[in-house]
């Protein structure tokens, strides 16, 4: 590992939470405006996390602590691997580690809310994971590599040959970002949540850890989106901005639905779009 790589890692680890936190702040602000509220300040997410860190440490089962930390480590690793332009599938599997441990942590607490949340989170993972793999495979089919460093050498924006796959990615990301209608395991919106699902038993500093991990994941997701217009930084920025805006709008106009519907709808639509796009790749 040379100096340049070390610097990349350091930047990825340090800047990602800042970026992720600001995105979360913007998200809350825009959502509030869409709902006719004034909304919190942009930096509110940071204030929240600092406050959470200062709270008393409360747990039901100590495995939760381990799980919270592994979730954070996994999320950080995904961002680092993305920054190091590593293999997309490897990044994907590391991302999955985080999800697995979040679920184990929730299952460790015997509260039924946490248990139900964990089951739902598992189904959410089940829904988006295959789609993400299919998206990465399609990138491979077009560029001939899973390595991000190789993918970046591709001449045209991936959005052109993989337009449909971008929609598939959209489905996967909506689930991963916990946006309606797919915020089944836990929701950002108080009005459709009785208890906080998979996060029910996390509180104080541990909840802060999970929140920060979620910021990392947001950055990772936006990074994957940017990959679809890697030829032009402005294009990438516009694409990412528009995508996130679309996520917020969808989030606000939809209500959460059941996991049965989610699994059936997302898998069928995702597979259909994927095969259409694969055919398109072969025809082209």
């Amino acid at each position: 590992m040379n100096m340049e790589n070390l610097a990349t890692v350091a930047l990825a680890v340090l800047l990602s939470p800042l970026l992720g936190g600001v995105v979360a702040g913007l998200d809350r602000k825009i959502t509030a405006r869409l709902q006719g509220r004034y909304g919190p300040p942009i930096l509110q997410s940071f204030y929240d996390v600092f406050k959470l860190i200062g709270k008393e440490r409360m747990i039901v089962n100590p495995w939760q602590i381990l799980c919270a930390y592994v979730y954070l480590v996994a999320a950080m690793l995904t961002v680092v691997l993305l920054a190091l332009q590593s293999d997309l599938l490897l990044v994907f599997f590391v991302l999955a580690v985080g999800g697995v441990f979040l679920v184990i942590g929730a299952l460790a607490a015997p509260s039924p809310y946490s248990q139900v949340g964990a089951q739902r989170e598992l189904i959410q993972m089940l829904t988006y994971e295959p789609l993400l793999i299919l998206v990465f495979v399609s990138i491979y089919l077009v560029t001939g590599s899973y390595k991000i460093s190789e993918i970046l050498k591709f001449q045209e924006p991936l959005l052109i040959p993989l337009a449909l796959m971008y929609i598939v990615l959209g489905y996967a990301l909506t689930i991963k970002l916990r946006k309606s209608p797919f915020d089944i395991s836990t929701s950002h919106h108080a009005h459709q949540e009785i208890v906080k699902g998979v996060l029910t038993e996390y509180s104080g500093p541990y909840l802060a850890i999970i929140e920060v991990a979620h910021w990392y994941e947001t950055v990772f997701i936006l990074g994957i989106c940017a990959l679809f217009w890697h030829t032009n930084p402005v294009g990438a920025l516009v694409l990412v901005g528009l995508t996130y805006l679309a996520e917020i709008v969808v989030d606000n106009i939809c209500a959460r639905l059941t996991w049965r519907w989610m699994l059936g709808y997302v898998w069928s639509t995702g597979l259909l779009l994927s095969f259409a796009n694969y055919t398109w790749i072969y025809v082209r």
Binding site: P62, V73, M76, A109, Q119, L126
Partner: protein
């Protein structure tokens, strides 16, 4: 040297088997089994250091080997016919006759002198298989010594049936070793049938109706494979008219895509599918769960099912680039997907493991079908890592079953609080199956990369992979579910490093109760667990030392070498040592953070403010101010994927794929 080694790995287990059977003393039996295990491990290590070889033994004690094998073959088939007769099972009898008659015709009418040179052949694949059979197999047999004693104690038998049990267990190991080293297809067939017979005897060991019924099913399903095997031998011989075509090495080195060769190859693959319990033959392996745990562990991890995938992987170069190969990939991926779906529906821990085994074998078959060098390497790595992790998990579930008297995973909630060590090893086993940087997942990664050019295969692998993650994560989660039990001696402040070491040896937050088990149970569990972790840590090393140079070295001698050098760029993604290190540092950091002592409030699980104030128990204040227990259970989605609901559909779809497979060959 070679004859001694071959003798040790094939004949020694048979001798020990006879000892186990005739010397009816538990103590002697224990020594014999342990000593055989040690000898097997030593011989397999010697094979490994020796490297690839070919060896032809003319005769043993003055009798021609071919003659012995032929005679034993017929004896075996008549024995199986006898079993079919005594069980009044026409299907078994029919399938046996379908093997006896063609085989007799072949041996006495078509050829008179089947001499295949070399008789034994060992390359990287057979040596790795030998290592797995010897190490994992022996550990399981050793685990079986105290396990069976306790098992019989539960059953209150008048006369111990253990001599018979260990007889077949030992013969099984010998037959597997013979199978992976034999080069003559007729010999492979003989060993193949021996494993079929042993599995029947072991599955029916407990002798109750269910055991016998399931054993008969296993027998007839595997006999289907036997019939396919015999037909393949005859067809291959008819095509060339020389015994040369009965040599595995000849087949592999002279790929011939004419129908006359491909059709027998397809039949051999079919035989492999039956033995590897691929859909629609999965029923026999699920039924085999009634057998005592060492049997399931042996059938699932190192022997029996691995014989099926061994044959398919072994023959992979022979059918590379054909439609058959593509269909094998499709078939394997389909098995991977459907078996994973069925596993999600299971509450029975052993059945989850069973379906997971079938799924992983499907993945290996798919890799063989994809047939690029990277895919073949992925297949071999999967065989290794799966054998270790699955062997471990079966032994864990067996131990848990003896402790709690149930296989239902819902009954395993909070197992960590009661049996921390066993639970910890179980969780470790599960993690080695599903998360990076452990080998099983890394191999899956290689498999998906290799499959990328076949869209439907990669789609099925992607869906199956998600399902796999679901059932493992859920099971691992409920094992740790439950109350907070902090041991008092944790109050002392300690250095991080010391705490980390302590956690590794004693377990996270485990109350420091001693682990009371027989060493014959402890040693296999701990050895397999440390293998699972160490081999994964060393995964790049395993790849580059165990497989890569052997592939590169004898590029002319070994069929598994073609193009692997070129493929290093593909498979080279396995060289991710820095990332492995970083992730382990990350996990270690998480562990340290989690066990660090500090002010910490333990609260009761949230129940809308009505929870019981004492921590741990999930109870709430119900009517009449009484404390009500609340329970939660997993989603099994039985209304969609209930086993009895979808199995028939899956079998039908699998049969359709098999028909297309044969049609594709004929095309």
């Amino acid at each position: 040297m070679l004859d001694t080694l071959i003798g040790t790995c094939i004949l020694l287990p048979v001798v020990s088997a006879l000892l186990c059977y005739f010397v009816r003393s538990a103590r002697v039996r224990g020594y014999v089994v342990t000593a055989t295990g040690v000898a097997l491990v030593a011989s397999s290590l010697l094979f490994y250091s020796h490297g690839s070889f070919s060896y032809t033994a003319e005769s043993i004690l003055g009798v021609k080997l071919n003659l012995i094998i032929t005679a034993a073959d017929f004896a075996l088939l008549f024995l199986i016919f006898g079993i079919g007769w005594s069980r009044r099972n026409p299907l078994i009898m029919l399938l046996t006759v379908l093997q006896i008659l063609p085989l007799a015709y072949f041996e006495f009418k078509m050829v008179h002198h089947v001499e295949v040179i070399p008789a034994f052949y060992g390359d990287d694949l057979s040596i790795i298989m030998n290592l797995i059979i010897s190490i994992v197999g022996s550990l399981i047999c050793i685990f079986g010594i105290p396990y069976m004693a306790e098992h019989e104690h539960h059953l209150h038998l008048k006369k111990s049936r253990q001599p018979r049990f260990f007889f077949f267990l030992m013969v099984f190991l010998g037959a597997m070793n013979g199978l992976v080293y034999a080069n003559n297809l007729l010999w492979v067939y003989f060993f193949w049938e021996v494993t079929t017979l042993c599995s029947f005897m072991l599955i029916s060991h407990d002798g109750n109706d269910l055991a016998v019924k399931n054993a008969c099913r296993a027998l007839w399903m595997n006999m289907v494979g036997g019939v396919a095997f015999v037909s393949a031998i005859i067809l291959l011989y008819r095509h060339t008219g020389s015994t040369e075509s009965l040599s595995l090495q000849y087949l592999v080195r002279h790929p011939d895509s004419s129908l006359a060769v491909l059709f027998p190859l397809a039949l051999l693959c079919l035989a492999g599918f039956t033995k590897a319990a691929q859909v629609p033959f999965q029923a026999w392996l699920c039924g085999a769960m009634v057998a005592p745990t060492p049997v399931s562990a042996l059938l699932h991890s190192s022997t029996m099912v691995k014989a099926g995938v061994y044959l398919i992987v072994r023959l992979a170069p022979a059918y590379a680039g054909t439609t058959l190969s593509l269909m094998v990939a499709t078939f394997g991926a389909f098995t991977f997907l459907t078996a994973s779906v069925l596993a999600v529906n299971m509450r029975n821990g052993k059945k989850i493991l069973a379906y997971s085994t079938i799924a992983n074998l499907g993945l290996i078959v798919a890799c063989a079908g994809i047939n690029t060098p990277a895919a073949i390497v992925a297949a071999i790595l999967l065989i290794i890592f799966h054998a270790i992790s699955k062997g471990l998990l079966f032994l864990c579930v067996g131990t848990i079953e003896h402790k709690i008297g149930s296989r239902d995973i819902e009954d395993m909630r909070g197992l960590y609080n009661r049996f921390p060590t066993v639970a910890r090893i179980t969780i470790l086993g599960m993690l080695t199956m599903m998360i990076p940087p452990f080998g099983a997942l890394m191999s899956k990664w290689m498999a998906i990369e290799a499959a990328s050019n076949i869209p439907w295969v990669v789609a099925m692998l992607a869906l199956g992979s998600g399902l796999t993650m679901l059932f493992w994560a859920r099971w691992a989660g409920i094992l740790v579910s439950g109350a907070y039990l902090e041991s008092p001696d944790r109050e002392k402040s300690q250095s991080s490093l010391k705490m980390l070491i302590e956690t590794l040896t004693h377990g996270l937050y485990a109350s420091k109760g001693s682990w009371q088990e027989s060493p014959a149970i402890k040693v296999p569990l701990l050895t397999l667990a440390s293998f699972a972790v160490a081999l994964s840590l060393l995964a790049p090393w395993v790849y580059s030392r165990l497989i890569d140079p052997r592939l590169a070295l004898g590029s002319k001698a070994l069929p598994f070498t073609e193009g692997v050098q070129g493929a290093t760029s593909d498979a080279g993604s396995f060289y991710v040592l820095p990332i492995l290190i970083v992730s382990f540092v990350g996990y270690a950091w998480a562990v340290i953070a989690a066990i660090k002592k500090g002010h910490r409030v333990v609260s009761a699980p949230y129940l809308c403010g009505e929870q019981s104030p004492d921590s741990g128990e999930a109870r709430f204040r119900g009517p009449m101010n009484a404390w009500e227990q609340c329970t939660a259970a997993n989603i099994y989605a039985s209304e969609f994927i209930g086993e009895e609901k979808i199995t028939n559909w899956i079998n039908m779809a699998a049969i359709v794929i098999l028909i297309v497979l044969f049609a594709g060959v004929a095309q």
